[in-house]
């Protein structure tokens, strides 16, 4: 059952990875504000009234 040790290690590294990201998120102030982010996503961006492509136009050159 040696494979269990491999899997434990892999799972732990994954968990550690998550832990590091969690600490990073906390330290970098991601969670300082837990109200406005929920509200902010409700605002749509201001659309510029310049339609680039015609309906059903296939090509898209940028």
């Amino acid at each position: 059952m040696e494979i269990i040790y491999v899997m434990l290690v892999v799972s732990l590294i994954l968990a550690l990875l998550f832990l590091v990201s969690f600490i990073w998120a906390n330290k970098s102030g991601q969670y300082e504000d837990d109200v406005t982010p929920g509200i902010r996503i409700l605002y749509d961006d201001e659309v510029k009234e310049k339609v680039e492509a015609k309906p059903n136009e296939k090509s898209n050159k940028e």
């Binding site: 040696e2 590091v20 990201s21």
Partner: protein
């Protein structure tokens, strides 16, 4: 603060959305075909019988199509739409976006071709053979790379919850897929799993469970966190809760896999570990469900008017039910009743049809009017779809719960004298026929609903105007130097030491695994259990036919240590019996009986007749007929390579056995053929041994006759009496 003009890529969203709808309908129709085969086995399996559409090959096609094609494209649709808007930037690279799209569709097409042809690794939700596995890994990295880079060039400091879910999805699925796909190629479309027996089972269900967790759950929770608030135009009920339940969920989920192997030969402590974490999962899962539903608090009037929200409400409710049921099913006492029955199938369809299906539909009805800048073609058609789909789910799942419960009880029913009430497995199958028919009907109307959606959305698209790029003005709150293009990708990563660290860890993880795993897997395979011998060449070829035909989809090879199991099948399965099984074939569903102790139970000629036409040998059987394996010659051209590959994996064939294998194979085949001829001669005296000895069916029979016979040599009666006396 500066105002910047940004072009969101709407075309990639449109592509993925169309792909989701298309593959969704295809995947459901394949599922309907499989359901019809179980409900009307005579007509759909035998009369229309065609090997490429045989149930064993169709079932994995259905699961792969709905998971990776329908839900997979659904994930990409939602991620590509929401990420750009949440991070106020276009996706980092158009090239990667479209590579992601076309690569993924190519993988799906290759699955549609190879699975019906019988190219399968037999591991559930990981059936695709090794070249496709590599392609999946590459495409997944393309997706993740594009996503992470987009994250680095974002214009909003805060990373919204949804995106955390996407990141966890990417990282975990990558690791799981790579670890579960370690296999040694025999030829272009055949490989043997690196692991064997118990170890293979453990890795497979570590993957299998997390495929559910990180492919069907976390990305969809991410989508839920974006689309539910947007559709309701209300902020999520508790942003704080979303953070807490996200971290709790991903930390707990990766440990729950062993609950798929309760009462199996997996060590008990691993089983218990899986159970404990599964129970803990209720809290974070319900955190997500409640957060979604409570977002609509005080806004239920909107649900009445909006088809999109109706779909979301049912999706969240189904998610709540499935995530309560999952932990319950992982309790040993409940699992002993439900495992291997249709209950499991009902459980996954509450989640699949309810959570994933309904959320996808809702998302599509939300997206199309946005993308095409027009009102939905028909709101009433969307409402009709909602009611039809909901009814479809109910009609699908209730019969299957009923079927699973009935069959589970029938299996364990004893008479007063201690004998099984239903000693014949077939009685417990024929009893399910009405449920299979009702389920098929439920599935049919669910598909009709999906077709209505397809029509409605195409009409919507036709009446609107589509712009490949949505030009918006955003205010950037980030001071960091920023560029969408014209920079080496690694520069972007290197600028952030923490990110660099994370990437390095992933790379090291993969690299380290490649070195460690083979050594460990091989080392433990060498452990000798004296009675258990490697498969003979003929049995090995037979086993590969067993894998090709998808027998494992309906037949388990795992006798649990429960009295009603040992009474029916014989001695319970031991871990040591499977050391040469690359891959393991324990199965997860018993549509037919367990085969772990099949060897020697019946004559060769019984198997011969039964495989060609099961219904003639056991009336009422729903097993598909396999006439082609009696006609097609056994292909032995890869035998030498197979032996060598297995030797490399630690199977103790003698040195140089690959040269000897074919001779042994032919000899064993002639013996079995002679047995069959002897029994058949009364009816058909003109068949010669040489006519059938070289056919595939002989190899398959040799494998079936081998199953479980190694351990039968052990004086099992002594063990039994010891246990009995100790109980007294």
């Amino acid at each position: 603060m500066e105002v910047i003009e940004v072009k969101y890529d709407n075309r990639i969203v449109k592509y993925f959305a169309y792909a989701t709808i298309f593959w969704g309908i295809i995947g459901m129709i394949v599922g309907l075909t499989a359901a019809l085969q179980l409900a009307f086995p005579n007509f759909f399996n035998d009369y229309l019988g065609y090997k490429y559409l045989s149930y064993g090959r169709i079932r994995p096609l259905h699961t792969n199509a709905v998971i990776f094609a329908f839900v997979g494209n659904g994930i990409f649709t939602g991620v590509y739409y929401s990420m750009q808007r949440l991070l106020k930037t276009r996706m980092w690279s158009d090239k990667l976006s479209y590579l992601n799209f076309w690569g993924w569709q190519l993988i799906i097409v290759s699955a549609v071709i190879t699975l019906p042809m019988g190219f399968t690794s037999s591991k559930e939700y990981a059936e695709l053979e090794w070249p496709i596995d590599i392609a999946i890994a590459l495409m997944w990295v393309v997706f993740g790379w594009n996503m992470m880079a987009t994250l680095l060039v974002r214009r909003v400091k805060h990373i919204y919850t949804a995106i955390w879910f996407y990141i966890a999805t990417f990282v975990t699925v990558a690791v799981l897929h790579i670890f579960n796909s370690f296999e040694v190629p025999v030829h272009f479309m055949k490989s043997y799993s690196w692991y064997s027996g118990v170890q293979d089972a453990l890795v497979q269900w570590w993957y299998g469970h997390n495929a559910v967790a990180f492919f069907l759950t976390t990305p969809y929770l991410g989508l839920m966190y974006y689309f539910v608030p947007k559709a309701a135009n209300r902020p999520i009920y508790s942003y704080k809760l979303s953070i807490i339940h996200f971290w709790a969920l991903i930390f707990i989920y990766i440990w729950a896999g062993p609950h798929h192997l309760l009462y199996s030969s997996l060590p008990d402590w691993a089983q218990s570990l899986g159970v404990v974490f599964s129970i803990m999962l209720i809290a974070p899962s319900w955190g997500g469900m409640l957060n979604g539903l409570l977002t609509l608090r005080g806004a239920w009037d909107k649900v009445r008017d909006s088809a999109v929200l109706k779909f979301f409400v049912v999706a969240l409710t189904a998610y709540g039910m499935a995530t309560f049921e999952g932990p319950m099913l992982s309790l040993k006492s409940i699992n002993s009743l439900t495992h291997f029955t249709d209950w499991t199938i009902a459980h996954v369809h509450v989640a699949g049809l309810g959570w994933n299906g309904m959320l996808t539909f809702g998302m599509m009805y939300y997206l199309f009017p946005k993308l095409f800048k027009v009102k939905l073609y028909s709101q009433s058609l969307a409402n009709a779809h909602f009611w039809i789909a909901t009814l479809g789910i109910i009609l699908w799942t209730i019969p299957m719960y009923w079927a699973g419960f009935s069959q589970g009880l029938m299996w364990q029913e004893f008479n007063a004298d201690g004998t099984l009430t239903n000693p014949d497995f077939l009685t417990t199958v024929t009893a399910l026929k009405p449920f299979y028919i009702m389920r098929t009907f439920g599935g049919l109307i669910y598909i009709i609903g999906a077709l209505l959606m397809g029509y409605n959305l195409i009409k919507t698209a036709k009446s609107g105007t589509f712009a490949n790029n949505e030009v918006v003005e955003v205010t950037s709150s980030l001071k960091t130097k920023h560029s969408d293009k014209g920079e080496y990708w690694h520069r972007v990563i290197e600028r952030k030491p923490m990110r660099l660290l994370l990437f390095s860890v992933i790379v090291i993880l993969i690299g380290g695994a490649v070195e460690i795993i083979p050594t460990m897997a091989v080392k433990s395979n060498i452990k000798k259990i004296t009675q258990v011998k490697p498969y003979s060449p003929l049995e090995l070829e037979g086993r590969d036919i067993y894998i090709r035909e998808g027998c494992v989809g309906c037949h388990s090879q795992m006798v649990r240590p429960l009295r009603f199991e040992t009474e029916r099948y014989g001695e319970y399965s031991k871990a040591g019996e499977f050391v040469y099984d690359h891959p393991f074939l324990w199965g997860s569903k018993r549509t037919g009986p367990d085969l772990a102790r099949e060897g020697g139970l019946r004559s060769d000629s019984w198997h011969y007749g039964h495989l060609i036409s099961p219904k003639d040998w056991s009336p009422g059987s729903i097993m598909p007929a396999y006439p082609w394996i009696a006609e097609e010659k056994l292909n032995t051209s890869h035998l030498k390579k197979k032996i060598r590959v297995l030797q490399g994996l630690g199977v103790p064939y003698p040195e140089g056995y690959d040269e000897q294998a074919l001779t042994d194979l032919n000899e064993q085949a002639r013996g079995i053929a002679a047995n069959i001829i002897k029994d058949l001669s009364k009816k058909e005296s003109d068949i010669q041994v040489s006519d059938i000895a070289n056919k595939e069916i002989i190899a398959l029979i040799s494998y079936l006759q081998r199953l479980g016979t190694d351990i039968k040599a052990v004086p099992a009666e002594i063990e039994d009496t010891e246990i009995e006396t100790s109980l007294k």
